[in-house]
Subunit: 286 residues, 2 copies
Amino acid sequence: MASRLVFSVCWFVLLLLLLSSVCGGRRLRGESTALTLESVRKFLTREEDSIVFSLIERAKYPCNAPAYDPSYLGRATKFHALSLVDLFVRETEAVQAKAGRYQNPVEIPFFPKDMTLPSVPPYDFPNELHAAAASVNVSNTIWRKYFDEWLPQITSQGDDGNYAPTAAADLVCLQALSRRIHYGRYVAEAKYREAPQDYNTAIRAKDRDALMKLLTFESQEDAVKRRVEEKAKVFGQDVTLGKRVDDSTNATNYKVDPMVVYRLYGDWVIPMTKMVQVEYLLRRLD
Amino acid sequence: MASRLVFSVCWFVLLLLLLSSVCGGRRLRGESTALTLESVRKFLTREEDSIVFSLIERAKYPCNAPAYDPSYLGRATKFHALSLVDLFVRETEAVQAKAGRYQNPVEIPFFPKDMTLPSVPPYDFPNELHAAAASVNVSNTIWRKYFDEWLPQITSQGDDGNYAPTAAADLVCLQALSRRIHYGRYVAEAKYREAPQDYNTAIRAKDRDALMKLLTFESQEDAVKRRVEEKAKVFGQDVTLGKRVDDSTNATNYKVDPMVVYRLYGDWVIPMTKMVQVEYLLRRLD
């Protein structure tokens, strides 16, 4: 009886190993998958660099209005209602979906309806999120606010014809901002795991205000805003030999105005990340 | 007779205006199209920032070997001989070609055979290059050297499954490096215009060594190498509040080793740009 049990267990383990090999599933190597407040903080800090780099690279090109004007393509293609950027992002996201980008729940596409299925073997990304809450999605707001409000503040007037590189630079900005803001799901999960009792009452009462209060640490937010402002100064300066960035440098010397990056975070990125956290927590007990 | 002449001239001007409007041609606005040594220097200096940013962003992900291994896709697609990065770059370049990226002669695709025609109106980019020499192309060498030699030096060992973002980051590096190296055509043209008599004898004699000697300014190259090393330090540091980058900081604190960036420029980017200049000049009188 005992030997049959051992035999069955061995078969089961073998079957699991075979399945995992056939599916091509791979685990993260050399890295812990544990979500902690420390790992969350590290991720968000590194994302700040990506966001600032992406804004500086977008600011290399002027506004390039035709890229956003549906009438620009109207004459040349059948897509009358779509701008070059709309089409460009849809088609680039389709290529990236095929290559498996959105298998990782950290990445969220702007046009999920246009997605092709991945052509790559499935990858076993760690699933740290609570299933009922993972679907929180504010992509439409990110898209609208980026183009309507923030893009005009980081670009100069003008048209240099580089619409495709401009659209590619926009997509890198959008992906970095979306990853950061939607990472609010992971922030909320890490905070919830740390002290569920702090949140349960407010979640059950569906009390958004109470949750927002629990998630707000003004001194911490202030430090983040000042740090991204500093990053915009450090990364956006003209580096010359024998001269380091100087606080007295005039703002016009920076490739993107550091105060705009400060406000981008204060007025939008941080509040939106907190909104994602609240929405996530509201579904955390479903 | 005079009124008929005026009438004909008016018709001709109207016809020209109409043609220009139908073709949708747009000139660069608010920017001089004149190629000068100063404009070339400015372009190359700004490209250094793009190259360093792109390397730092690639270094965010580990090596991610499966993205470069054709057998990884072998099971899942019909493209046995191609890696995920091969396919990803081909398909992304096709999307960018459709959006008009390669109308600008500054941009050169890695897979020109897979190009779709632009779906956008033609843009009247300034054509500064000598027609017979504009086609100098070292994309294959850039591709090979980037993946075989430089990529292993900027990434850590490991596999985090983010193959699509990895491939996207590779493409941004490749595009920035290719734009910089192929800009050698513009550098050569600016130098030639400045003093054609300095180059004509060597060009007619097809004397590569003499041309290379004419194009080499060691102190200038040294300054560029030290500047990109400095940029890798400034852009690749962990920015924290109240602390500026410090020369004594250990190399392991930087996101990409500044010495690797120094060597990337010294051993490869600068020599390749000069090779492009020589090849361009050799065809300059054709």
